[in-house]
Amino acid sequence: MKILYAVHQFFPYYYTGTERFVLNLAKQMQYMGHQVQVLTYCITDERGWSRLNRDLMYRRYIYKGVRVLALKHAVVPEDVSFSILNDCMVSALDALIREDFDVVHIAHPMRVGSVYTLAKKRNIPLILTLTDFWLLCPRAQLIKPNSQLCVSPKEGEECANGTCYDYTMRQRIIDRYFASKKLWQNVTVKVSPSRFLASIFQVNGWSSQGEILWVRHGIDYSTVTPMPKKKKTKSDPVIFGFIGTLLYTKGVHIALEAWQKVRSDNAYFYVYGPCFHEVEYFERLKRMANGDQRIRFLGSYDHKELPRIMSELDVVIVPSIWWENSPLTLLISLAYGVPVIASNIGGMAEFVGQDENGWVFPVGDTSALAELIEKLTENPQIIADKASQISKPPRIEEEAFYYETIYSKLK
């Protein structure tokens, strides 16, 4: 089978969860004897671009044995990450994509959404894996700047009421909403890695019950190499950790605020991750932790360090204040057998489950979180018991196997 993956950005310049999902899936498909190619968009100023026409440039390269076709505008338009379709890209794709693919699989439609017109024109089945709410929400996360969670954009009206966008944007957002819905209707099979994410699209009337297939994200267990854990005595401190980018929506401030309420001296909080552009937020976090010896900011980390990091952490905290869909940190922690404390909303709650893989606390409730931390610190045996009964996330090979089955049904 010949499969084209479309994703809004890709390695080597971008390496978040979605890119990793595409790379892992593409490689596993190759292993299973299929031909793959990745179509992506790249905003970097790297060399090696070829000019396709007045508006567009392209570059072909290979990443880890996978062929990649990257596109880029000569002058990047301001709405490149906002619009669903890009007119000049439609014809460009037709010219650049010569292979006769059996399936087009969109992993994220941002910047590359135009691929759906190509699929339609060539009568190729289209499959879409949901990774966030971008199709519904131009800000992708369904959270308003005032931290209020959103459930429905109400066909765009909710977006342009002054909270997220100014009223002048109203028509553009409504147009975008319907363009997006049109793309959605042209997708043959929709897949969601979490039931929660699927339910949001259901609530908005975009799909009926059971229309969206549920295929959980798989973990590449060949990179998960747990180191043996040190046997703890009662006097050893309990180590909590946060792993991920230090962004407001990730709720690091919630964790720190809770920590201010924790009285125990026998618990530590290790914060791993870079702050990217949210420098101000980082400064705020540092002020919050000021003088607290139990809190350590350990900066960004390499993926290769994960076995060591996971071996020293007893519990990972995921205090996000937005829904989260299929948070990679949470899944990786479970793959390493580390239980998780997470906010009780969205994908986080779904993967932690009813007391299955860890504990949940009401989103933003610092007191409840603090109480939980205290409880676990006082009784570390609860953590060990929980760790032993974690049900690990599926493997990438399993995820690929399901997708292969879906593709072969479409072909």
Binding site: G33, R60, L213, S222, E398, F401
Partner: protein, 910 residues
Amino acid sequence: MSDDDLIFENNRSQSEQKALIDWTGERYVPWVDLGTPEIHYEHLHRYFFASQFVEGKKVLDMASGEGYGCAIMAEKAAEVTGVELDEKAVKHAASRYPLPNVRFIKGSITEVPIQGEKVFDVITCFEAIEHIEEHEKLLIEVKRLLKDDGLFIISSPNKLLYSDKPAYQNPYHVRELYFDDFCGLLTKFFRYVCFLGQKVFPISSIWPLGTGEGFLKEVCVRKADTGFIQVGVQEKIPLYFIAIASEQQLPEGNRFSTLTDVSEELVAHLRRIVGEKEQLLAEAKREFSIEKEALSAQLAEKEKHILQLEENLTNLTNQLSTREKEFLEEKERLEARIAEKKQRILELEQSLADLSNNVSTREKEFLEEKEILEVQLNEKERTIAHLEQSLNEFRRHLTEKDAEVSLVHNSLGWRLIQKYRRVMDRLFPLGTSRRKFYEMAQKGLKIALTEGPFMLGRKATQKAIQYFGSYRKTFVVSDQQDREISQECGVSAINSIFYVNSFHSDTVSSCISVIIPVKNAGSELESILKKIRFQRGIKEVEIIVIDSGSTDGSLDIARSWADTILTIDPKEFNHGTTRNLGAKSARGDILVFTVQDAIPVGDYWLKTLVNPLLHLPDVAAVSCRQIPRSDADLFACWSINNHYKLLRLFKDEIFKADESYWKTKNLLEKRRRASLDNVCSAIKRIAFEKEPFKPMKFAEDLELGLRLLKAGWGIGFLHSVGVIHSHNRSPFYFLKRSYLDKKVLRSLFEDPFFADTIVPNLGSLVFTLNCFNYQLKAWGMLLNNLEEISYDYAKQKLNEALSYCFENNNNEKKNGGIRDKFLFDKEIEKLLEKLKCVAEGCPENCIETIKHDILASSYQFMDYLSHTQILPEISEVVSAIYKIFAVVIGDWLSRANLPEEFVLALEEGV
């Protein structure tokens, strides 16, 4: 027949004459161009010769033919009569030569239709006598018609020269005469006969100039448009002059002289020249025709081109006119639009003026409104001041209350209550069930105190119902969820014909036993056992582990997850017996055999695996598909894919063996249908009890597959069910595996090509192996540019690289110096070296065939790369080729009757 019928006299002019007869090859016709004038000379000369005897006489020409002879003689004779047998010729002659003193009669020369006797002065008969049989009758007829003093002039071909010498037979001639016969015939009828000869010779002629006639009667002719005509002697122009001069009267005598070349060399010479010229001409003609052809082809092409150009021109002209039209239309349209725009600008200017008027009006309104608002603002400010005042009052009040509270806190009673709470927290810690009971008791006490003990009892019962009720509910919900997941995750869509309908049915109620042989399984064992233990949709899963001497703690892990653990001595291990042992202690109706490093795909793996066995009564066993691990190397991926490709296992299938199966010589087809795979297989207990595994070190699954087929069972392959299973192992491992694999397969399928062959000396391959290292690395560099080069080109280059290694293996000493320090697998090299000592020789073409096998597999490998478009690391490709090499060597060794120690070494650790 009257005379009138026979006589053709015609008065039409000669110019109107038309030939009524054609040249047949025999009868002479004077107007025909025969290429050579010889025949003209002969015929004309005879009549001109005869003319000297006919002046004023009455002449009969026998066999007058075309009539020209009569015409010649009529110049001098008083009257000429031609007699001719052919009516057409007579008509022709009469119309062609309408002379007043000539007549032509139809008739035979032996019976001339003229009455009377002694009629003619002269009778001629040229080249006619050989056409008739009755010569004497002719002579008698001549005698009848000739006057007593008349002359008879006759000619006849000399048979000796005409027919005998050239061995020529003229089909028209009836009876030819030798000279003796001719002489005899004439002397018999006439007293005086003078014989003359005639032949055309090339001659040199000497004749007297300007002195009129001499002794010789000379006839001169010239070729004119109408044929040969007689001309005067004066037309004869000498090329040389000769003179005879003297003071005396010149002697009388013959001034004529001819030199005759009897060998006719001049003619021969001319013929030669003509021959050469003709040859040249023919050649020239041929060249000309070729040239002509080429030119005409060119011409045709040019013409075509011209036509095309003309067409293009027409098209362009058409386009031009269309464009012009369009241009004009566009121009018109644009002009119209310009006018429109101008109008619009005017309108806009107008509305701008209106707007500015409007703005000034609005400004006025705004100012008015502002004034009103300012008034309102002042009002509000006053209200705020008022509110602030009230707030301050509240604060004061609050401070007073705070003071009261701190008084209470400091009191003894409060401190006692706090103490009590701390004690309670310690006795009943938060979050524990003790605390829950404490809180419940507290609540109960409160209820008992406020609402009475009866109320307490009722509420407690309600709580209990709620608690257990909700427990049951949770259980039911999770069961429902179970099914929802199966639908949502696409499992229901995934599955094939066998269980699409059955999928939604209830949980499998029978017990399924999973049997796993284990030895040092490593850290993954726990997650695999756990995954099997928590399979969904199966009521009871029984796990049986058979350990053969693990030392890495596998046994401890197994203890926490397996139902039964059996241990055996590692020495006793073989694939068949060990599994039979596990099966013996199994309780399940279906036995699932898998291996310690095969990871089930999904939570419904077991259910979908056993489903066909539950629903298809004639199927005894199924096995499922293996997929490579995410850390599989390229060789592992290829070999799994290639295995299924070769066996054409691309979908869920049930195989049965009919008669043709046992007869077929197609080993792949045989293997395909019997392909039971113990990496993951499920077998019905009832079938297995009759047909257990045989104690085999290898391929016990395939052997069982064949036996089940023989017993009439069906065997299934499930492409839609998977286990993750692949190995990244050393080339030596693959050599050993290939050795065993091929050996067992050959014996299982009774390969007709399999025969114990001599132990081959593969020692020379050691060098090939070393050479590989360098050559393959160089070839691998090429793959870096696979984007630009084609896979076919890469294949060709690989062929060259391998050929180089093999061709040079015989020159080991010569090339010994370039050995690479890096040896790809020392074990293989050691084995090949050792083999040298026990080798019995090198079978013919052995090395050549090995090279061929390596190339064939490498090409399949390259096809996989090409098909998947993988652009791998060079080292991975090179390593894969090494492993292919190892597999081929293993295959070769499996054909030989190896000594025991080799067999043991090769079978160890596979």
